[in-house]
Every structure is written in C-alpha cells, then in structure tokens.
C-alpha cells in the first residue's frame, strides 16, 4: 500500500485505476529523423490505426444516428487510404529526412491548401475534413487520445494540473475522481469536480508519481488521502465511508420537490452554477430551481476561433429552453487572468488578475461583445434569460454595457427577431470598488450576484491561484462578510435582489450568516443543492446573527 496526502478540494470517496492525463500539443519539430525506415513504418501503423478507428466510429454512429453521419466517417477513412496523400507523406520523409509527424503535417497542409484553393465553396469546405483527418493521424502517431482518456473503464484522473480548456474537453463519463500535483481549492479542476459531484484532491506534489498509473486506488476528497492498493484495514475504512456516502445520497433524495424555505418562512432562491449546456442534466436531477451562473467561457475556451453568434445562440437557447421558464443568469465573457484564450491575442500581463479581463475585454472590443449580446437577447425569447456582467468596478461601465444592450435590442427590432424586452440585467459584485459604490450600482441594474472567489482575492489581496497562501486566504474573513453585508443593504435599499454565485454560497457554516445578512439567492454546484436545501429547511432566519462579521 502507498499512502499519499494532499488537500481535499471536492468531497467524496472513489475507487478505481489511476490514469495519467495525456496532454496533447507536443510540438512538431523540424529535427531530422534518425532512421527514415522507422518513420515510414510509424506512418503506416498510424494510418492503419486511423482507418480502423474511423470505420469503428462509422459503425457506432450508424447504429446510433443513421447512415448520414456514418458516411462522413467512412469518407474520412477513404481520405486516410488515399494513395496520393500517403505517397506525399512518404515522399516528404525521403526528401526532408524529417520525422513522421512533420511529414504527415506537411502532407495535410498541402492537400488542405489544394482544396482551399479550388473555386468551389463545397470543395473549399473539405479542407477542414483533411485537417481533421490529418490531426487524427498525428494523434495516433503521438499517442494522443481525444478527450485525454484512453481507457475502457472509468478512472481516477491524475495530472500535474489541468487548464480550463483541458477540463472542458475531458470525457467526463470516464472520470471517477481527480488527483493533481498542483492546484488549489479554487483551481478549475476543483470547481469542475464539485460541479460533477466527484471527489478531487490537489496539492499532492511530487508524491504523485507516473509509476502509480494503472494501479488501483481509493481516494477521499474530504481528508485528501490517496491509498494506492490499500491494505485490508485501510480498505475497510474507505469502504465504510463509501457506503455511508451512498446512504447520505439516498437520504438527500427525500429533499427533492421540497420548497427552499426556513422554518420561519424566509424563502431562498436556490440556483445552480453551470459551465456548459451538458451540466443541465445535473441541475435537473438535483432539483435546482434556476441557473444563477452560466459561465459562457466554455464557448470561447473550447474553440480555436471566436464562436459565432449562431453557435452561442444555440447554446444559450438550449439552456433557457431546458429550464422551462425558470431564471437562467448567463454571465458574459469572463476571460483573462487565469483563463487564457489564444486567439484573443491578449498582451502578456505582469499581473493578469488586475489586467484586461472580463468586462474590460468586452468594452474594449465592441464587436466581440455585440455578438454575444445578440446571441443572448435572441435566446431570451426561449425562456427567462438574465444577463450578468462580470468584474464591474464603476457606474460608467454598467451604463456602457446597458447602452450596448439597447443597441442590440434596436437592431433586433429592425430585423424583426423576437426577444424579451424585460430581460433582466445584473452585475457581479467581486471587486472592493463595486462594494464601495454599491448603492449607485444598484440603481442601474435588476440584481447583484456576488462572486466570492474574486471578492476574497481582491479584498484580502490574496492570489486565488497561489496554493501556499494557506491561512491568509480566508473567505470567512470579516472583511469579506462585511463587504457582502454592504452590498446586500445597497441592493435592498434599491429594491433589487442579491445572490451569491461563488463557492462560498455552498458553505454550510456560513448559511446562518447569509440569512442574517439577507441574501436572497444562493447559486451553487448542482450537487450542493439538496444538502443546502436540507440545511435551509432546518434554519430559523430570525435568530441568525451577524457575529461572524466581528473581528
């Protein structure tokens, strides 16, 4: 047995094989190959593997969705078999004396360029197919697996740390838990794990060695323990906890369909945070009453170019329609800082958390902003969409956002496109500046939603990405809680509602404080809804005190 100790960042016990995340994007170099014959064989092997994969894929989709999609994959298989294409790779190998990867890349570029140059839109579009096929051969050459997980059975995913764009592409049905070397409780892996309701442990450091790959392990996301091939005593302890966890899950099921109200009748809006339309299933199965934060970044992170209005519209509409008239708060683009997107071409910043991020990018690039707002307003016709702007510090920013909204609404009026004029507009409260001018901000908008992760970071001057700040990074700090109180008082004075959509919303130990402050809405990971509902239904709002606000 090998025991590792990290920091538990998402609760729960899981049991399965450890699997190391395979990172794509190994750069292809111009370095000469040592043996051309070996490279030739590598190409042939990758070619055969690609053909087999594509034919399997075709068979699979033929059963699921029918002939049309299957034919696409079959055509792709034919591309891979094409004599000229393969000959071009082999010739390049011989001429350039390069690696198999480079030869495949050059052949792919050549044929894609040939199609792109044709005076026929249909054929031009086939260039994308060639690129797709080329990438598949390259992946097979380099041992990269789409979705990062090449395993038949679900695994405990191990990694140094995962970038947001990487977590989005993971095949989530294959993940039982996360264990990472770096990262903190606020890392994207941790947030993703909590959304999925699976255990995660971070900060394992060098003890998480690659040779643990493939071995069976139990992990406990509460204690931060990883037990590889546990002995009988440890195994029994983990299993007991696992069973208790299953019992608890069953108990929580009785909370479904119950109202979110305290014993003395104070109603709370209990909503969910989601990162993509896929998460809706979890919201509905956990009986979330709305979406308090739909992070629109997934559209930008998962793509290698600006997502189109149509693409965005479809995603927003899907969520709005699935929630059937319940509120869906969609946050506009919030990249920058720790979430980087290559094609935005943002300057490298010394201090990105204080740099050009979130609403600042949108106000600097009206076209990017306009595309998103158009998609949001168009989606508003299909449910109860609310638009939320992140990282607000000033009243003029909100006014400028609202002007952009007015402009988009006027455009849609002229085009005769349906949308809801009464679409709510709100802002994130996550900077100390927004707290200090909260009364003025409240007059401009329909709601406030507090992003506690950033509010804590900016209020306490503690980098949320740093994992060695420890006790200095304290989201329970009276300064943070007092900030909440100031914002809540300002919101209520203006007659608008205030919610919390940060991680703190699900912190049971703060529920009484939130009730005393008068928070109207809590937006949490779908898996936190039922436990929180159980807690709300046991509380008495009138007796809650502000004692945690004292120093």
């Amino acid at each position: 047995m090998i025991l590792l100790q990290g920091k538990g960042v998402s609760k729960g016990v899981a049991n399965g094989p450890v699997y190391f995340f395979q990172r794509p994007g190994i750069t292809i170099t111009n370095a000469p190959a040592s043996n051309i014959e070996t490279e030739r064989e590598r190409i042939s092997a990758a070619q055969e593997k690609s053909i087999a994969q594509l034919n399997d894929l075709a068979e699979k989709v033929r059963q699921e969705t029918g002939d049309e999609t299957a034919l696409l994959f079959e055509t792709h298989a034919m591309f891979v078999e094409d004599e000229d294409y393969v000959e071009c790779m082999m010739d390049t190998l011989a001429e350039e004396k390069c690696t198999a990867e480079r030869a495949v890349e050059i052949a792919g570029e050549k044929f894609a360029a040939m199609l792109a140059a044709m005076d026929d839109a249909y054929m031009q579009a086939r260039a994308a197919d060639i690129k797709d096929v080329t990438r598949r051969i390259l992946n097979n050459l380099m041992g990269i697996v789409e979705g990062g997980i090449d395993s038949e059975v679900p695994v405990i995913l191990a990694a140094d740390d995962l970038a947001p764009s990487e977590t989005i592409q993971l095949d989530k049905s294959k993940i039982l838990g996360f264990i990472t070397q770096g990262g903190s409780g606020n890392s994207h892996t941790a947030i993703l794990a909590r959304t999925m309701g699976i255990p995660a442990i971070s900060g394992l450091g060098d003890t998480l060695k690659p040779e643990l790959g493939g071995r069976m392990a139990y992990i406990d996301g509460e204690t931060g323990q990883v037990a590889v091939e546990p002995d009988d005593i440890t195994l029994a302890a983990f299993q007991a906890k696992y069973e208790k966890q299953q019992e608890m899950k069953e108990l929580l099921q009785t909370m479904k369909g119950q109202e979110d109200v305290t014993l003395d009748g104070r109603k709370i809006m209990l909503y969910c945070n989601i990162g993509s339309p896929e998460d809706i299933a979890a919201v509905l199965s956990n009986d979330g009453r709305g979406i308090g934060l739909f992070r629109s970044e997934f559209l930008y992170l998962a793509s290698d170019n600006y997502p189109s209005e149509e693409e965005q519209f479809q995603a927003y509409k899907e969520v709005a329609a699935a929630m059937e008239g319940r509120r869906v708060v969609i946050r506009t683009l919030d990249i920058g800082a720790d979430k980087q997107v290559g094609y935005f071409g943002l300057q490298k910043e010394e201090n990105p958390a204080l740099g050009v991020r979130a609403i600042r990018i949108c106000l600097n690039r009206p076209e990017v902003f306009r595309t998103q707002l158009r998609a949001l307003y168009r989606a508003s016709a299909y449910g109860k969409v609310a638009i939320m702007f992140p990282m607000i510090t000033s009243v003029w920013e909100v006014k400028e956002c609202k002007r952009a909204c007015q402009k988009v609404m006027a455009e849609l009026d002229t085009e005769g496109v349906p949308y809801r004029k009464d679409t709510e507009i709100g802002i994130m409260i996550e900077t100390p500046a927004s707290i200090l001018v909260a009364e003025e901000l409240a007059k401009e908008v329909d709601f406030f939603s507090v992003g506690t992760n950033d509010l804590t970071q900016y209020t306490l001057a503690c980098d949320r990405q740093a994992n060695d700040l420890g006790k200095f990074f304290d989201p329970h700090h009276p300064a943070v809680l007092r900030a909440l109180k100031i914002a809540a008082d300002a919101a209520h004075k203006a007659g608008i509602w205030i919610g919390i959509c940060g991680e703190l919303g699900a912190d049971m130990s703060l529920l009484e404080t939130f009730l005393a402050i008068g928070i109207d809405e809590l937006s949490v990971s779908p898996t936190s809804v039922l436990p929180l509902r159980a807690q709300i239904r046991k509380s008495i709002a009138k007796t809650c005190t502000l004692e945690l606000l004292e120093c």
């Binding site: 034919l71 696409l72 079959e74 055509t75 034919m78 591309f79 078999e81 094409d82 004599e83 000229d84 294409y85 044929f111 040939m114 199609l115 044709m118 005076d119 026929d120 249909y122 054929m123 086939r126 197919d129 060639i130």
Partner: protein, 86 residues
C-alpha cells in the same frame, strides 16, 4: 481500352462522398480506371483526393477510360456506377 462519356447529374458534382465511393469501386476492379475532363486533365479513379482536385461539377462531361483486365465487364460496371451515384 474501353471508353465512355458521362455527364454529371449530381448537383454538387464529384464531391467527397461519391468520389470516395468511386475510388473504392475502381480499386475493386482489375482494370485501371482513369477519369478525364473536357479540358484535358485526368486522374486515376482510385485516387480520392486527385479526383476531388479535378473539381468536376454538375453538367460537366467526363471521359472514363478502362484499361487492362476484363475491360468489357468493368466498363459496364463503371457505367452503372456513374448512373447510380453521379
């Protein structure tokens, strides 16, 4: 050598999927099948990308040449293939 001419009916011409089917069909024969356009360009029917590269559109007339093997039977099979798919 056998040869026949055919005018493309398919609205998008010899696009990816039919080209793929054609390449597959041509490979299965024991003859060498060549497709030639009116402006004198040609490609082996067994080569998918080269076929697509000819950019053959609806209304274009192509010559199909069948050489070697059982030319008679293969020409009939090819002609039927064009009628069914293109």
């Amino acid at each position: 050598m056998k040869k026949f001419e055919y005018t493309i009916n398919d609205p998008v011409g010899i696009h990816a999927r039919p080209a793929g089917l054609l390449a597959k069909a041509a490979k299965a024969l024991d003859s060498t099948v060549t497709i030639a356009t009116a402006d004198g360009r040609s490609a082996a029917a067994s080569k998918l990308m080269a076929l697509m590269g000819l950019g053959i559109k609806q209304g274009d007339t192509v010559s199909v040449l069948i050489e070697g093997g059982d030319e008679e039977a293969n020409a009939v099979a090819m002609e039927q293939f064009f009628k069914d798919n293109l």
